[in-house]
């Protein structure tokens, strides 16, 4: 890396730009779409020259969708709020349950610990539809259908294994000697967990929490089946734009931009936690 010729540098730059362009183009295009009317979006050939309009955003924020035939109410802002509530709630619960569990799996090799950990991970393998049918029946019986609590509970299928397995790895990377040293110094088990294990696994916990948040945010099928309109997140809410009179591309684009904004902002903010190394040079080898 230190000895790159100008040609190599140039090629590297081109390759990196190509990759960035490839992955960023859909986002760039959707931002453009969100600023256009349906007519300019659908013209052929497509063009990047148009008169930007904020009508789509205004429609979404005010909740009044005007199509050329009729006017209808949409609850997109409500969906957005639901998404935030469901994702944040599930991640909070998953962190509360998953971080201590991850610590237990990392530090205490008890009989069957690997099996239990793997079973938790295997929840991620099963197709969601497999569990959804029985779940929706149960939920109706015990009154959890169409409640935030029920949804947050089901979202643990997404968040908990993720947090458990990522954070477990971070805990395993912490030298047990650090914890022994703190306990021998005279601190209790609990204070060792809080003062040594948690801060040192901090970047990992932040990364796992962020990933879990994004997965929860992007979930579609659980909420589609288990919740009615007033509890549905943006992923399901976006379906409302497919109307009888046509698909409202402009509004869909604006809705997508609004719905990816929180996760994007979160990812940018948490970047330093994701990059920050765990090894801070206190333990050799």
């Amino acid at each position: 890396m230190d000895h790159m010729s100008p040609v190599e540098k140039g090629l590297r730059g081109i390759a990196l730009s190509a990759v960035v362009l490839f992955f960023m183009f859909p986002i760039f295009w959707i931002v453009l779409m969100s600023l256009q009317t349906n007519e300019t979006i659908l013209r052929s050939p497509p063009s990047m020259v148009f008169e930007p309009t904020f009508r789509n955003y205004i429609a979404i924020v005010t909740g009044k969708l005007d199509s050329n035939v009729a006017s209808m109410d949409i609850t997109f802002m409500r969906n957005l709020w639901n998404s935030i509530l469901l994702s944040a709630g599930s991640v909070a619960v998953a962190l509360l349950l998953g971080v201590p569990a991850a610590y237990a799996f990392a530090r205490h090799k008890f009989r069957g610990s690997e099996e239990v950990a793997f079973t938790l991970l295997s929840f991620r393998f099963a197709p969601p539809l497999l569990v959804l049918l029985p779940l929706s029946l149960y939920f109706q019986q015990i009154g959890l259908a169409n409640t935030y609590i029920g949804l947050i509970w089901v979202y643990q299928l997404i968040c908990l294994p993720l947090i458990l397995w990522i954070v477990r790895g971070y805990f395993e990377d912490i030298s047990p000697d650090l914890e022994h040293a703190y306990r021998i110094a005279g601190h209790s088990w609990l204070s060792t967990f809080r003062r040594i294990a948690l801060p040192l696994a901090g970047p990992g916990i932040a990364a796992a929490g962020l990933l879990a948040f994004i997965f929860a945010w992007n979930n579609f099928i659980f909420a589609l089946v288990l919740a009615s309109a007033d509890k549905q997140p943006v992923t399901v809410g976006a379906l409302a734009f497919v109307t009888a009179s046509g698909i409202q591309y402009g509004q869909i684009a604006a809705a997508i931009v609004l719905s990816i904004a929180p996760t994007l902002a979160l990812a940018l903010y948490a970047q330093r936690y994701l990059v920050e190394g765990l090894s801070l040079g206190a333990v050799k080898g």
């Binding site: 030298s175 047990p176 000697d177 650090l178 022994h180 040293a181 703190y182 306990r183 021998i184 110094a185 005279g186 601190h187 209790s188 088990w189 040594i196 801060p199 040192l200 090894s279 801070l280 040079g281 206190a282 333990v283 050799k284 080898g285």
Partner: protein
């Protein structure tokens, strides 16, 4: 300061027995060195005492109290780890202060305590640094300061000089005895370096294969090692080991090297006719002009600062190392004769590899290996 007693301690990991019935006592205020090759179980033993590892069997008592069920934080032990185990997210100050905050000292007392021990270890100027900004020597001192900060009654030092450079190791080897004596603590000090063991210990416990192979004063271990293995570990250059069969005639017990008599201690009569290993310390050999000396061929000479080591071979191609203080005259090449000091010769049984202690009529087994 209490006495630390370890009784019949056994620890297994899966099917591997790491400690196998280890028993010994460290008298109050005494420093005992735990010496042994890697994998001998030294660190595991230390962790059992500290409470980081639970033994399967056996008892550990401090001042007569069984601490088997006492959690590590209530054992009142200070420990320095081989890998330092400094908390990476805290400054050196907070690292050293951690035993004091656990004891709920006031802020002023903590400040005072940390500064005092930091001054003692000459790290007062780096207290605000995190561990990653410290040099290896400073890390090592910080770890030591943390272990000493609360003036624990029992101090466990797990090879604290292993990861520091040679110069610092030498300095610390000089400093540590005074430091430990000032603390007055009962100390167990783990090392793989025989010089460290000889320099720092009131007593040395040699651990081998999970058992105590020998325990005694540094003098005991060096002069009267219990086995070939221990003799080999203590001493630089390594002890010369030669297969011999002792004989006896009117002049006493002796053995032959290149057909020359090497007299042995008269108490070694029991070894006559048995297959033995003769242990000769390189510094117990010297060049000689006497016609009774053993004829050897000089192969190579290696000068060190304080001594010169010569490799010679006997007529039967057995290699022998001879060490002499630097500056003393000696033949540089060709043939020469060497002389053995009988009192320094050690005899081991070739089958059991154990030392055969001289039996004297009056003293009985007074100096048998412990």
């Amino acid at each position: 300061m209490p006495e630390l007693r370890i009784e019949n301690l056994t620890k297994r990991f899966k099917n591997e027995t790491v400690l196998d019935g280890v028993s010994f006592t460290v008298a109050e205020g005494e420093t005992t060195i735990l010496f042994g090759p890697s994998g001998a179980g030294k660190t595991v033993l230390l962790r059992c005492i500290a409470g980081a590892v639970d033994p399967e069997e056996g008892r550990i008592t401090i001042g007569g109290n069984d601490i088997s069920d006492v959690p590590p934080e209530h054992r009142g032990i200070g420990m320095a780890f081989q890998n330092f185990a400094l908390f990476p997210h805290m400054t050196a100050f907070d690292n050293i202060a951690s035993p004091l905050t656990a004891r709920r000292w006031s802020r002023e007392k903590i400040q005072e305590g940390v500064e005092q021990v930091a001054k003692l270890l000459k790290i007062g100027h780096v207290l605000s640094h995190p561990p990653r900004a410290l040099s290896n020597g400073q890390k090592q001192r910080t770890a030591l300061a943390r272990a000493l900060a609360a003036s624990p009654e029992i101090l466990l030092l797990d090879d604290p000089l292993r990861n520091v450079d040679a110069k610092l190791r030498f300095e610390m080897r000089l400093e540590l005895p005074r430091l430990l004596a000032d603390q007055g603590a009962t100390v167990i000090y783990v090392t793989q370096d025989y010089k460290e063991a000889m320099a720092l210990g009131d007593r040395i416990a040699v651990l081998s294969g999970g058992r105590i192979a020998q325990i005694g004063t540094p003098e005991d271990i060096y002069r009267r090692p219990a086995s070939v293995e221990i003799a080999r570990h203590f001493g630089d250059p390594t002890i010369n080991l030669l297969d011999v069969v002792p004989e006896k005639d009117g002049g006493g017990v002796f053995t032959r090297l290149s057909d020359q008599r090497v007299p042995l201690d008269s108490g070694l009569e029991a070894a006559v006719g048995r297959d033995c290993v003769l242990g000769l310390r390189p510094e117990a050999l010297r060049f000689s002009d006497s016609p009774d000396g053993i004829p050897v061929e000089i192969e190579a000479e290696t000068p060190f600062n304080e001594k010169t080591v010569t490799l010679v071979v006997t007529a039967r191609k057995r290699e022998i190392l001879i060490s002499r203080p630097a500056g003393t005259a000696a033949p540089g090449s060709g043939t020469a004769r060497i002389e053995v000091d009988a009192t320094d010769a050690l005899l081991f049984d070739r089958a059991t590899q154990e030392r055969i202690a001289p039996q004297h009529r009056g003293g009985g087994k007074s100096e048998a290996a412990a």
